[in-house]
């Protein structure tokens, strides 16, 4: 019952937002500023996690495949697991965890402090002013971060293969290149794009729905995170099924 009510409100939110965007396109400066902020703030954590995932896929893969005499398969495995699936998910998870929660709590705080009312009174549509730059900023930056995560994951695996396992880096790269096609990269970017849209819209929506008081902010942020996590996982699965069958 409450879920249906929220879904209905979200639909209204989308319609209002679409109308506001149609009336007036958001300013490029604001979009770039958001993109830069989201990108720079999430970058260190994303890099660290990508390095971790890359080294670990290589280590665990090598460990398991060694029993089969298939050390050379590490490249294939890293390429398939890391590039196609994990890099988009970790990029989305980091952006959701940092930028998404920030959006929800910022907007909720602005709601409480009457800043959103102030926008309305100053004849500025809050959806246009607050949501549009965040949405387009994230849409701009998440595919780029996804590609970055892919290359850092690969690089970290390569380093483990060459430096720690003492195997041939050339074989690893050849394996990886044989597995990952341009279409894979493009598809990962599409995934990043779709995740970005979900993260921005859902987080902003919950920010606008926030009740009064500090616990309203906490609750809005929490609801945003839970909804975004579940939505991203479901969407990831759907997209993978559509693309890879």
């Amino acid at each position: 019952m409450r879920f249906l009510e929220s879904a209905g409100r979200f639909a209204y939110f989308l319609v209002d937002f679409g109308r506001a965007m149609a009336r007036r396109p958001p300013s490029l400066g604001a979009i770039l500023e958001e993109a830069f902020r989201i990108g720079v703030r999430s970058l260190p954590v994303l890099l660290v996690i990508a390095v971790f995932v890359g080294t670990n896929l290589a280590l665990q893969g090598a460990n398991a495949f060694a029993q089969l005499g298939g050390q050379n398969l590490v490249g294939t495995f890293v390429a398939m697991a890391g590039v196609r699936e994990m890099a988009p998910v970790i990029a989305a998870a980091m952006i959701a965890a940092k930028a998404g929660t920030e959006m929800a709590s910022q907007i909720a705080v602005m709601r409480i402090r009457e800043q959103i009312d102030a926008l309305e009174v100053m004849a500025v549509n809050p959806l246009w002013y607050l949501v549009a730059p965040r949405l387009l900023g994230i849409v701009l930056v998440l595919p780029a971060l996804t590609i970055l995560a892919i290359f850092v994951t690969l690089l970290a695996s390569w380093a483990v293969v060459v430096l720690q396992l003492g195997q041939s880096g050339a074989v690893f790269l050849a394996e990886a290149r044989a597995t990952v096609t341009g279409a894979d990269l493009a598809f990962s970017m599409v995934k990043g794009l779709a995740f970005g849209v979900i993260i921005a819209l859902v987080s902003c929506f919950f920010g606008f729905q926030a009740g009064r008081g500090p616990e309203g902010v906490g609750r809005a942020t929490n609801a945003a995170v839970v909804t975004v996590s579940v939505a991203v996982v479901c969407l990831n699965y759907l997209l993978s099924v559509v693309f890879y069958g």
């Binding site: 102030a118 309305e120 100053m122 549509n125």
Partner: protein, 265 residues
Amino acid sequence: MADVSPVVPPVIELLDVTRRFGEITVLDSVTLRFPSGLTTAIIGPSGAGKSVLLKVLVGLLKPDAGTVRLFGHDVTEAPERELFAARRRIGMLFQDGALFDSLTVGENVAFPLDQHRRDLAGAERDRRVAEKLEWVGLPGFEDRPIASLSGGQRKRVGLARAIVLEPEVVLFDEPNSGLDPFTSDQIDDLVLDMKRRLGITFVIISHDIVGTVKVADLVGMLYEGRLVEYGPTADFVRSGNPIVKSFLRRNLAPPVSAFDPGEGR
């Protein structure tokens, strides 16, 4: 209550406006006309419906019944475009300023210009911002962060932002709330100064009778969602209405405390 129809034409009219929240009727068929060029204050205790009245007036809340007119146009059910067109002629000072923390003082004041007057060149924009900051007594504050401002300064910046588009009406939501008596006095003087300087319509929502008597031409009192008294300030303070009398007595009794931890919406 007698219907007071001032000779001056009204810029804002509330006709029979009723607003409920669930079971509670916060505004009960309130009819009010705010005459052009005058300062009208609406006073009343916390929870009387003052803040809701102000929000209905600018269309932040829709009335359940009745009509709201801005500058002669019925905006009760108006689409956003018309409502926004009317709002560009209105400035509003929020209770705690409602300033954007991520922007500097100058950027906050310039915000309405940047949104609605992009025809203005940078130098002219900066000149207007500097002028308004000077008017509110904060010259040279452009680059200060919002976090560094005191409560009184936040209200001053909020006022500078409210008048930067040169509006025809300025709304004040509790200009004295949360201020010490001394700062409160200074804000009253500032409002008075602005009134002389701009000569435009002011609407003030307040629970502070001292400041109200000082600046208002007309005073109305809201009590439990109803307008119980309305008239020129001089008549209002001599009103025989028992609710008004008890409110005035409590408020005028020294020492005057203008501190209010803030009233709920």
